[in-house]
Amino acid sequence: MNDELSVVGKSLPRIDAIDKVTGRAKYGIDLKLEGMLHAKIRRSPYPHAKVTKIDTTKAENLPGVRAIVTIEDVPKVVEYWFFLRTEKKKKQMFIHDNVVRFIGDPVLAVAADDEETVEEALSLIDVEYEQLPALFDPLEAMKETEVKIHTEKGNIAFHVTKQYGDVEQGFKDADHIVENRYYTSKQKHASLEPIGSCIADYDPSGRLTVYSSTQLPHWSRMYLAGALDLPINRVRVIKTYTGGAFGGRCGLIHGLEVMSSVLSRKASRPVRMSFTREEDFTATETRHPMIIEMKTGVTKDGILTANSIKLVSDVGGYGTHYIGVIANCLSTGVGLYRCPNVDFDATAVHTNKSLCGAFRGYGNPQMNFAQESQMDMIAQKLDMDPVELRLKNYRGLGEIDPVFNDEIRSDGLKECLQKGAESFGWKEKRSKSSAEGIKRRGVGMAILVHGTGAAKGLPDPASATVMINADGSVNLVTAAADDGQGNRTVLAQICAEELGIGFEKVSVSDTDTDSTPLDGGTHGSRQTYCGGLAVKKAAEEAKKKLLGYASQELNVDDGQLGIKDGVIYDVKNAATTIRVSDLMRKIQIEDMSICEQPIGHAAGVAPAMPGYFGASFAEVEVDTQTGEVRVLKLTGAFDVGKAINPANVQGQITGGGIMGIGWALTEELITKDGNILNDNFTDYRILRASDVPQLDSIIVESNEPTGPFGAKGVGEGTMVGVASAIANAIFDAIGVRMKELCITQEKILEGLRSGAKA
């Protein structure tokens, strides 16, 4: 079916690239509105305290100060959009109290004419606190009953158990059992545009407009409506250009939009608030650190018989996505392997550390690190090639994923493994690994599956409108939020392909909740698939109307008409044609009895959340004297169903690859007594151009039958297996099993000293 594609499958330049290379693209902090005020937050210096008194008198009298908002005035958003489903749940989304729960928790904010006045005003406000005992260790917080971080819930935010099969029997059937405890680190999104920039403009007639870099314009609009008690149609969210998100903007930013909106309401002026890099590092969401105990049983032939997973997720002071993240640990943890007997027990625990939320992979990287380390140990025990062990056990085509009870309809994992191994040189490199010398090389691999979208677990709508203009050009209206992935370009490609017109004929609307229909936002690798399905369907509808008019015009049955390169033609008589532009001018303007613009619209939920597969291969060199680990080569092979824009897909594979290397080796927010010690790019080290190993990105296309032109997701999965592959490669190099991320030089040296073998 894909043989004749003319737009889909091409690495076309993205529609926003020229704006970005010329400096015209406006990000949140670049915007200015007439009469705009500047605002800033004053944050808690204590990890856990009650705010007992705030005296703003002196600040109020400072010339230039226009509004002050305090913790007393605003609710905090502490859940995600699953809670919008019922009135009762919606109430739980917002808490309104005088307690601060981590160092950096917003206490108040000031809006003034300029930034200097804001700073001065903030320093003039007296805040009194009653300090409360703080909890930093999730395992202690779980047991603690006296100190409650959240009054009603206590410290356990969420606990769930799930059983599949009979795990006890499964362990009885096993010839080998591998049991370990894994720790994962607190990673920061570190998008180049700091998280936390918006303008709130509350006009006196009671309409709120917020310019925001949110990944979820429509959900964010509903969060704001709920937090500020406004009808949804009185809130307008306009998405600005966004300097990377990776899950860090998956909703509202703690304190940002709500405080700015209330300041704007009080001042009757637009208010801009932009967090600094330090605020981004210390007071916006991070990846959940997890402690995962995993016990895996396997027969001597390498068939998994049982898996028992006990997981503790450190949520920090507030949660938003903690339930979804655990649900994803379950679905990816249980979904990847055809293991009949699984016990899953997970607890999300509050501590007085900075808050956690969504982050590329959404729990899957943590689970994958544990699971794929286990698999590596099993392969080693059985003296089996790790690739072969995966092939024996992964859940593939036609099988049912037990968590969502959904069939796997496309499966390119074998091809990922084969092409990945070949390109990486897996067999050759594996035979050459040696445990001699100061610098030792080793190789490791991991596989993964990640869901596309969230249709089986969350409200997950997508919609699109396609309007064909009088000159044959097309406006595509969608709220799909592009944070840099290029999804708006991909949607334009899908639209052009379906309509049989050139890519340059399609322009994509701004992302504005006033003029675009409901969309679930950009998360869960969903826009190409969920957004793409809606766009394709809307284009189909517009095309149907277009061909209806062409049928009358050409006197040919519309089932017999096709469109290519903007020309409508009779498939049985190539000489009978009409240009889309000629037909449209006639229908919309020339014939005054019609004057109709053909419009197609589609809305709804995707029929599935197809898993996309991937394999990561890593080669490392470990210096046994310094503990330094260098990644020499990283190969990522991903089954994306169909690459609508191959360059974009490769960009995800390489970008996710180095984010994964960072998580494995260098990236960890270090907290001491609730303080984040490394709130800058010198101490929190993401990879630079000179640190990057040879990166191979391989695209596999398995043609997902439910997807637009066969496509499914890719974005999040690209970082999921990287740390697992690196840890396995380190074991191959030095015989030391690293069970704790990130893998610092100190941990390598300690491992070598104590001979921490698996």
Binding site: A17, G23, A190, L192, P194, G244, R277, D691
Partner: protein, 159 residues
């Protein structure tokens, strides 16, 4: 505090400005001249997003005081185009899909511009070294590196 008068050439036009002694050049460019193509990613010289050219050299405008630019010629991303025509570096970043979120892009291009003005045929290693001053969280760097090498080729061809 008393303001200081400076003369700066920005993208081919000279401005006489009264600036605070502690005012950062990046703020003058962004807030006073409206040149928001120059980005701020960290404010302390770690990320490179604010890279501009001063007298042909790549400079971090967040670590430069406006007064230090007195009498100098500044080039920002907005000054790179000739009319509607993109600079070969801009062209190459578009063509090679070297742009994702785009927040690091102006800084990268300006760092590369200063490099190519001195070395018209840099090795891949040299390009990587120069771009190591510019953090990018999206691309994995391979495509930006390739874009700079391709742009160098184009620029050599045009001479």
């Amino acid at each position: 505090m008393a303001k200081v008068n400076i003369n700066v050439g920005v993208n081919g036009r000279w401005y006489e400005l009264a600036v605070e002694p502690q005012e950062r050049l990046v703020d003058v460019l962004r807030d006073r001249l409206g040149l928001t193509g120059t980005k701020v990613g960290c404010g302390k010289g770690e990320c490179g997003a604010c890279t501009i050219n001063i007298d042909g050299k790549a400079i971090l405008s967040c670590l430069t005081l406006a007064v230090q630019a007195d009498g100098k010629e500044i080039l920002t991303i907005e000054g790179l185009q000739k009319g509607a025509e993109l600079h070969p570096l801009q062209e190459a970043f578009v063509k090679e899909a070297a742009v994702q979120c785009g927040y690091c892009t102006p800084g990268m291009i300006m760092a590369a511009k200063a490099m190519l003005d001195c070395d018209s045929d840099p090795s891949e290693e040299a390009v990587r070294e120069v771009l190591s001053s510019n953090l990018c969280r999206c691309t994995g760097y391979d495509r930006p590196v390739k874009a700079v090498i391709e742009a160098a080729k184009t620029m050599r061809g045009a001479k």
